[in-house]
Amino acid sequence: MKSLMLGNEAVARGLYEAGCGFVSSYPGTPSTEITETIAKYKEVYAEWAPNEKVAMEAAFGASLSGTRSFCGMKHVGLNVAADPLFTISYTGVNAGMIIAVADDPGMHSSQNEQDSRHYAIAAKLPMLEPADSAEAKEFTMLAYEISEKFDAPVLIKMCTRVAHSQSIVESGERNEIEAKKYEKCIEKYVMMPGMAKRRHPIIEERTKKLIEFAETSSVNRVEAGKDKSMGIITSSTCYQYVKEVFGDKYPVLKLGMINPMPVEKIKRFAAEVEKVVIVEELDGIIEAHCNNIGVEVKGKEIFGCIGEFSQNIIAEKLGAEVDEGARLNENVPARPPVMCAGCPHRGLFYTLKKNKLNVMGDIGCYTLGAVAPLAAIDSTICMGASVSGLHGFNKAGNMADKTVAVIGDSTFMHSGVTGLINVAYNESNSTVIILDNSITGMTGHQQNPTTGFNLKGDPATKIDLESLCRAVGIKRVRVVDPYNLKECDDVIKEEVAAEEPSVVISRRPCALLKYVKHPGPITAKSDKCVGCKACMKIGCPAISIVNGKATIDNTLCTGCGVCTQLCKFGVLGAKEEN
């Protein structure tokens, strides 16, 4: 059956059809839908792990036991999982194992635009790079064959435009795979120096065999072109842009396998054309390989290494015509993402700003607390960095009474708890605020260990945040309702003043969760409004000043009541009050 699938859905379909039996992942845009989709197949066990390292190690364990396994993550998630990655390259697999990593060139929803292809080279692992959904499925199925044939976990590299574009996929039947027998093999799976020293040469030999595969496999294909004045080597979504602009004008070498890359195939391709141009987003990985094997190419000096490409960028840089539409001669204000109306984070960030606190931020919807008018966040680095960073800031500096960390429930479980252990163990006078909105929000509502449900939607063990914080040695653990500004203000003042570590749990479920019932829009008595704009300090998209008076957008307002606590003139209030 033919249907439209996201690249991510197609990876999931490939996993399903190839007989994958175990999936463990951590959500991260643009990778999340792979695991959400595979969870719908009852034949496949699938779970959200607390973080990517745990997910990859679990997937490795499943492979070791004899079941085809998978883990998926975004590019920065692979940094977290890099530790097992480099060593499972040495051990190899029992049943096939696939790791999908989704890059985000252009940073639609990420904190950096690192190029994950470096990891495949550094960890000496095969990496396939599909260019659309049909290839995403095909390459996923091929990846299990490569994994088992060459005894290596295989990386599938996605990017936003492949992961989040729907294109046509032909679905097939599931191929039930009999589990492989588990056999104890200390020399292969116990990576202590004596064993690892014997494994490393095996890995180098494996790479040579993979290069032979890359020379002959149809994943790396040459598409003929009449005009030999230029040949283009490309991969992934860049291949689509190249074909969009030039059709079959120039010969194209499309690489589906990005590590290891072929040598002779590239040399032969280069010999047939007058010059070779490399079209690849982010870093010059293909270009560096060509340079290494003595093939003269141009790439990054034409295209640079920043952001996403598009058909117009390729056309402009390679001298083809581009016809743009008319631009409005008008200052069109930007529309940055904002915290939703009714978001429980808003009241908490208002309190932090009001108390002029330094705020170590973290990764999630609440990163939007850095946006004006709240502008309440001082730093955002990576998952968990708020808590560990706060510890260092407070130990080295002298601002513990003016500084806090904020971290979401899912991010806290991911890697915040280890930082909190450091706060307790090495005794910094730190105040950590856990923004517990009972869901993993930014990636689109995934369950996590604090929500009481698993990926399949079944009830699961719910980690109790208060008990966990106390168990690691935090004596002061407080819970506040972020809709209650006075309570937030009182408790945060007390906790930053306290001469010992503390945790404040700001608890209120995400306003977008279906089970959350809102009281409904408040009303604004505009005749009473003096235009003081106190209500504008919280950056709520439902409040505007029209003709100097506060007005409420009924389509957005949930009735959370945070603004009503700021209005001293009785303008804003629940319907029955007004």
Binding site: G325, A334, L368, S544
Partner: protein, 189 residues
Amino acid sequence: MKTKNIMIVGVGGQGTLLASKLLGKLLLTKGYDVKVSEVHGMSQRGGSVVTYVRYGEKVYSPIIDKGEADFILSFEMLEAARWTEYLAKDGMILTNTQQVNPMPVITGAAEYPEELEKKIADLGIKLDAFDALALAEQAGSSKAVNIVLLGRLSKYFDFTMDEWMQAIETSVPPKFLEMNKKAFLLGRE
């Protein structure tokens, strides 16, 4: 045939994704090669969002670039103004006239431009601007703006009513089906 391009633009949360998915399904049943591109994650939180629908004999790029869009289906006036350069020479903008203030306007750092309809039309762009929100509310829910807009778009395509209705049936929950059908017809009128 030359690849056709439809850009769907709006504000995160307005239901642009459903509109692009519905169009994609319909075009697939008509036998076209189809690509639909979305952006998930942070930009969905009330930010400016854009999805691309492309169809034809063979579609390569998943995105629509400047000067390529045959139609821009806009859920909000400012968003219609933001993307005019993406329109092809003989392209057309269909837009909801609703105004949703972005945060810089709310905070007073910027102003919502006036007379956008006129300014867009002055560029020589074919423009069909109407109050889709009012029609959606008339149909029963402000959330049906996406289906109202698709109804308006349907006037420019020669797909049958049955084909559109089937696409709606496979895209919206059964309990909202009648309301959405009504919204579609109001948009199409």
